[in-house]
C-alpha cells in the first residue's frame, strides 16, 4: 500500500484495474495506466476498443464499474471526493466540440471560470482573451459558434478548457469531425500545448501528432491495453499481432 502511494505521487493520472460494462458489453477490461506530470500519452485502437470510454472515466462522465481513478492522488470513486472540483482540474475536448451555441466564443471561455472558479468578470475575460489568443482566434471573441468553422470551434473548445487552468487535458478524437483542411490548425494548437509541458491524454488516429508529441502510445483493442511503447517502437516495431493488424489497416494507403 505504501508502495502504491509513492508510485502515485509523481503521477497526474492513475488508472488502477479499471472496468466499465454497459449492460453485458464489456467496454473496458482491467486497464492500468499512469500518466506522469508533463507527459503526453496517445491512445490508439480500432473503433469500439474502449479508448473513449477510458477517457470518459477519467473525469467521471462515465462511472467505472470496477477499479479506481486517481487524479493527483485524489480517488474519484471515493464518496468524499467533490467530483466537480476534480473536473475543474481536468480539461476535456470533445469530438463534436460541444460549444455552448447560445453564448459567444468569449462567453464560452468565461462562463465556467465565473461559476466554478468564482472569478470576477474582468479577470475571467482577461484569462479568456489570453486563451483565445493562445489558440489563435482573439478576433472571433464576439462570434457565436454557428459563425465559426469547425476548426475554429474546436480551438474555442480547447480555450474553454484551458481557461480553467487545468492540470490535465483529455482529448477525445478532437480532429475526427473536422474537414481535412482544418485538422492542422487544431493539431498545431495541441502541439504547442504539449511543448509547454501540459499533461495530455489524447485519443486520436493522427499518427503525425503521436510521432511528434507523444512520449508513449497506448494500443487498445476489445477493451484491453494490448501494448504501450514509444511512438517509434509502436509504429515501426509492434510486438503484438493485434497491433500489427491494426497498423497494417491504417497504414495501407
Amino acid at each position: 500500500m505504501q508502495n502504491k502511494m509513492n508510485e502515485q505521487s509523481g503521477n497526474r493520472i492513475v488508472l488502477d484495474g479499471l472496468y466499465k460494462y454497459f449492460g453485458n458489453v464489456q467496454a473496458v477490461i482491467d486497464v492500468d495506466l499512469q500518466v506522469r506530470q508533463g507527459e503526453v500519452v496517445v491512445i490508439v485502437g480500432p473503433s469500439g476498443s474502449g479508448k473513449s470510454t477510458v477517457l470518459r472515466c477519467i473525469n467521471h462522465l462515465e462511472v467505472p464499474t470496477k477499479g479506481a481513478v486517481y487524479i493527483d492522488g485524489v480517488h474519484l470513486e471515493d464518496k468524499e471526493t467533490d467530483i466537480n472540483a476534480v473536473r475543474a482540474e481536468v480539461g476535456m475536448v470533445f469530438q463534436q466540440f460541444n460549444l455552448f451555441p447560445h453564448l459567444t466564443a468569449l462567453e464560452n471561455v468565461t462562463i465556467a471560470q465565473k461559476l466554478v472558479r468564482k472569478r470576477d468578470k474582468e479577470e475571467a475575460e482577461r484569462v479568456g482573451m489570453a486563451q483565445l489568443e493562445r489558440v489563435g482566434i482573439p478576433e472571433k471573441a464576439n462570434s457565436y459558434p454557428r459563425q465559426l468553422s469547425g476548426g475554429q470551434q474546436q480551438r474555442v473548445a480547447i480555450a474553454r478548457s484551458l481557461a480553467m487552468n487545468p492540470k490535465v487535458m483529455l482529448f477525445d478524437e478532437p480532429t475526427s469531425a473536422l474537414d481535412p483542411e482544418m485538422i492542422k490548425e487544431v493539431l498545431d494548437v495541441m502541439l504547442d500545448l504539449a511543448k509547454d509541458g501540459m499533461t495530455m491524454l489524447v485519443v486520436t488516429h493522427e499518427m503525425g501528432f503521436a510521432r511528434s508529441a507523444a512520449d508513449r502510445v497506448v494500443f487498445m483493442d476489445e477493451g484491453q491495453i494490448v501494448e504501450i511503447a514509444t511512438p517509434d517502437d509502436l509504429y515501426n516495431n509492434p510486438q503484438h499481432e493485434r497491433t500489427k493488424l491494426f497498423l497494417s489497416k491504417i497504414l495501407a494507403h
Partner: protein
C-alpha cells in the same frame, strides 16, 4: 440558367392567388364588419359596453395564471426527467392526473373542492379566497401540467454533449441546467409556450362557471336579460377573435425572427 432562375423567382398570377392569405382577409373582414356594427348598431353598442368590462378580468386571469403555470410547469418538467424515483413519480402523477380529466371538470374540482380543502388544511379562511383567485389557481394547476410536457420535450431536445461539456468544466447539474440547458431549451420551446398562452386565453372563458366576471360571464349576464343572445355572443366572439388573432400574428412574426437568427 438565368432565365430558369428568373422563372423560379417570378411569381405567376396563379401562385399569387394560391399564396395570398385569404383566411386572414376573411377573419379581418368579419372583425371590421363587427366593428362597424358595434359603432352604428345601438343594440350591439350597448352589448359591447357591458361585455368590455370583463376584458381586464380575462387578461389579468390569463396573465397571472400563465405566469404561475410556467413556474409549475418548469419544476414539473424537471421533476419528470429527474433521476430521483420519488420526485419523478410525483411529477408524472400530477401531469397524468390533469391530462386525464376535462378542463371544465378540473375547474369545478380544483376551485370548489381542492382549494377549499387545501385552505382548510392550512388553517386559512376559505371565504377569504375570492372566485378570481380560485380561478387563477385552477387554471395555473391545469396549464402547469401541459407546460411541464413542453419543458420536458425542450430539455430533452438539447444534445447530451451540452450537459457533458458543462459538467466537464466543473459545473454542477444545477448550474448546467440554469446557464446552459434551459436558456437553449426555452428558446426552442418559446413558440409552443406562445401557443399555450393563446389556448389558455380561450380556456379562461371556462372560469365564468365560477361566476368570475370575465368577458364570457359578462356576455352571459347580458344575454340573459332578456334573451339578447345574438348581440351578446357575437360581441363575445369578436373580442376573443381579436385578441387571439393579434397574439397569433405576433407569434408568427416572432417564430420567423428566431428561425432567421438561427441561420
Amino acid at each position: 440558367m438565368t432565365t430558369l432562375e428568373q422563372q423560379a423567382r417570378e411569381k405567376t398570377p396563379a401562385d399569387a392567388w394560391a399564396q395570398f392569405p385569404w383566411w386572414l382577409l376573411a377573419i379581418i373582414g368579419f372583425l371590421v364588419f363587427m366593428g362597424v356594427l358595434l359603432t352604428v348598431g345601438e343594440e350591439y353598442n350597448s352589448a359591447f359596453l357591458f361585455v368590455k368590462d370583463g376584458i381586464a378580468v380575462t387578461l389579468r386571469t390569463t396573465l397571472t395564471a400563465f405566469g404561475i403555470a410556467i413556474i409549475l410547469g418548469l419544476f414539473a418538467g424537471l421533476g419528470r426527467i429527474s433521476h430521483n424515483t420519488i420526485i419523478r413519480n410525483i411529477a408524472i402523477t400530477y401531469i397524468e392526473f390533469i391530462r386525464g380529466v376535462p378542463t371544465l371538470v378540473l375547474i369545478f374540482t380544483l376551485a370548489l373542492v381542492v382549494v377549499p380543502e387545501g385552505a382548510d388544511l392550512l388553517k386559512l379562511d376559505v371565504k377569504a379566497i375570492s372566485p378570481n383567485s380560485r380561478a387563477v389557481a385552477a387554471l395555473s394547476i391545469i396549464y402547469g401540467a401541459f407546460l411541464a410536457e413542453i419543458f420536458r420535450a425542450g430539455i430533452e431536445s438539447i444534445p447530451k454533449g451540452q450537459m457533458e461539456a458543462a459538467r466537464s468544466v466543473g459545473m454542477t447539474v444545477r448550474q448546467a441546467m440554469q446557464y446552459i440547458i434551459l436558456p437553449q431549451a426555452i428558446r426552442n420551446i418559446s413558440p409552443a409556450l406562445g401557443n399555450d398562452f393563446i389556448a389558455m386565453l380561450k380556456d379562461s372563458s371556462l372560469v365564468s362557471v365560477l361566476a368570475v366576471r370575465d368577458i364570457t360571464q359578462q356576455a352571459r349576464l347580458y344575454a340573459g336579460s332578456p334573451f339578447r343572445f345574438r348581440e351578446s355572443y357575437l360581441v363575445l366572439t369578436f373580442l376573443y377573435l381579436t385578441m387571439t388573432l393579434v397574439l397569433s400574428l405576433l407569434l408568427r412574426w416572432y417564430e420567423r425572427r428566431i428561425r432567421q437568427d438561427a441561420k
